[in-house]
Symmetry: C2
Subunit: 209 residues, 2 copies
DNA sequence: ACCTGAACACCGTTCAAGT
DNA sequence: ACCTGAACACCGTTCAAGT
């Protein structure tokens, strides 16, 4: 029991926290329980997140809201109150998208589906997103992607930003709506849930252009 | 200090809880602090919410998500796990709306603005909505209103339900988006925030019909 | 640098007791 | 019926100490 290097890392901590959240809900995540799962004293976590649980929540939010290539945990010692991580580690998804020659609506819809899938995968942490908007390479890439697509669609001026906000809002809202109602008796299965998501997304895009 | 009837009620408790949440955030709401604010021992709250904090959270969610006439607190001893209150006390907003002869998009937009205002007013409790979908007279009235409006707009079959979900999703998502980013330096003022909300809502309605 | 272990203030909830 | 007050298990975090 008396080791002094348990191989802890921000990434391991975040992943284990997400695992606990998936199993017991956000309220079931305590520093002590997280320490147990990592086979470490709870206080060891504070060496990696000196600002405590709030900073851990910020990092979890940045991870969940960044549908980047797997393993790309934002690593930044300064994701202080209100901020998120900053550094990615694999190739830049914005650069990969820049040369994409497919129609704007195909690119946008593909992004929306990926984002939706990510939020659903970590739906237990979804409520963290309500009061945190971390800035990561992934969120910057998303903004660039949405702006390029909507500009190509014919929007200009402030309509580009407003359109991007509308698309982003719809995606988050649709996932929240699904998660909110998923325990009801007449809840749709994943096929119908996705069909509803697409129905609204198509309508929004149609009305936007 | 030795009174045994402090005039506590579910409504007073919910209102005081909302006041604490507005001032110190959801994490700042504790049963002990709530008791202090109500000038009562924390344990007195359990007489009105026997299932504890979880039941209180459900009741708060039902209150926030029910933009009914002021003072209409859902009063139901059985808003158990996952459920909300059931009984309203003032006149039925669905009945009031039934004879509304204005165009469908006007009625729908008016509802959306009222709902948005309600969610913004209690934005500190917004994250409670993510995992709770209370059923109240107000939510039933909302469903009826949306279905009537979208049917009048020409939708039919499952498109009515899908369209209603899309509108609902967009409204919640837009408020979440605004609250998420409201502490940033380039955050829009309320005028611009509302303009963005309208921009997306109009686009969605345009694409829906 | 990385982790432990005791300590402190606070928390949700139970339960027996008061009126 | 409505509220109190002590008690219990648990929590986040600080701090001095170990390696």
């Amino acid at each position: 029991m008396s080791r002094n290097n348990a191989g802890l890392s921000r990434e391991r901590i975040i992943l284990e926290a997400l695992h606990i959240i998936a199993g017991r809900g956000l309220g079931g995540l305590s520093m002590r329980r997280l320490g147990d799962a990592l086979e470490v004293e709870a206080m060891a976590i504070y060496h990696h997140f000196p600002l405590g649980k709030e900073q851990l929540f910020n990092a979890i939010t940045a991870y969940v809201a960044s549908p980047a290539p797997q393993g790309t945990v934002p690593i930044d010692p300064a994701d202080l109150a209100g901020g998120g991580g900053e550094e990615g580690e694999t190739e830049d998804p914005a650069a990969a998208e820049a040369g994409d020659t497919r129609p704007w609506d195909v690119r946008l819809t593909e992004w929306a589906h990926a984002y939706r899938a990510r939020l659903l995968e970590f739906s237990g942490a979804l409520s963290l997103l309500v009061h945190r908007a971390p800035q990561t390479p992934s969120t910057a890439a998303t903004r660039a992607l949405l702006h390029r697509a909507l500009t190509e669609a014919g929007l200009s001026g402030q309509d580009v930003q407003r359109g991007a906000d509308a698309v982003h809002s719809y995606c988050v809202g649709a996932v929240v709506h699904q998660v909110r109602h998923q325990d009801e008796e007449d809840a749709p299965d994943e096929g119908e849930a996705r069909a509803r998501f697409d129905f609204g997304l198509r309508a929004l895009l149609r009305g936007l252009v």
